[in-house]
Amino acid sequence: MKKALSVLNQLEKSRIIERYAIGGAMAATFYVEPFTTFDLDVFVIVPQTPSAMFFSLSSVYEALHAMGYSDEKECVLIEGIPVQFLPAYNPLLEEALAQAQDLLYEDVPTRVLLSEHLAAVAVQTGRAKDRMRVQMFLDAGVLDLAKLNGILLKYGLEEKWKQWTGSFQ
């Protein structure tokens, strides 16, 4: 993990990616008790040409392949860890990435998305496992509800949140 994070930092330093942060289950694990997952989801902002019509991660994959790392299904296997790169493809994810929390993993700097952004992204994504993740956050009391409400309102997710949390009771 430490080595994989160092590689991500190297990609950022060499401007292959503008910014990255851990998302998904491994970001959730930072806030709640550990649970089973097999991928390290990493949200990235990649420098794009002004004329680009869609988000392309090809420069990231090319750089990693040149470093000797190979693809494993939808991931790249970096130092023993399958890393899935996900572009920040909407304003909520862009904000989440911009405000991600800096931390040290042992002595390696990295970032994780804030729990409130993870919850909002979970509501937006809306899969069964996202719903379970929101429940875990609520059970663990790791959400700043005022901050979360602001995010939900900003991105039009408050109704879905009410439906979800209503059904938890």
């Binding site: 993990m1 430490k2 491994m26 930072f30 709640v32 550990p34 296997l77 023993g80 993993y105």
Partner: protein, 62 residues
């Protein structure tokens, strides 16, 4: 019968309390320690998932 019910209920509550205590303890681990627990969980889950035809890789933290 009533006493048995009460005893069972207390036992259940104790188990739930212990489980919740365990979950709380896990929440307070450092991130690297949590990652080690995730890998242990992967080791437990991988054979079951592979038997179901899902290809999974247990992380190598070395």
């Amino acid at each position: 019968m009533e006493a048995m019910d009460r005893q069972f209920s207390v036992k259940e509550a104790g188990t739930a309390y212990a489980k919740e205590g365990h979950r709380k303890a896990l929440r307070t681990l450092s991130y690297p320690e949590k990652v080690k627990v995730v890998v242990e969980l992967q080791r437990i889950a991988a054979p079951v998932l592979r038997a179901r035809g899902r290809a999974v890789k247990v992380w190598d933290l070395a």
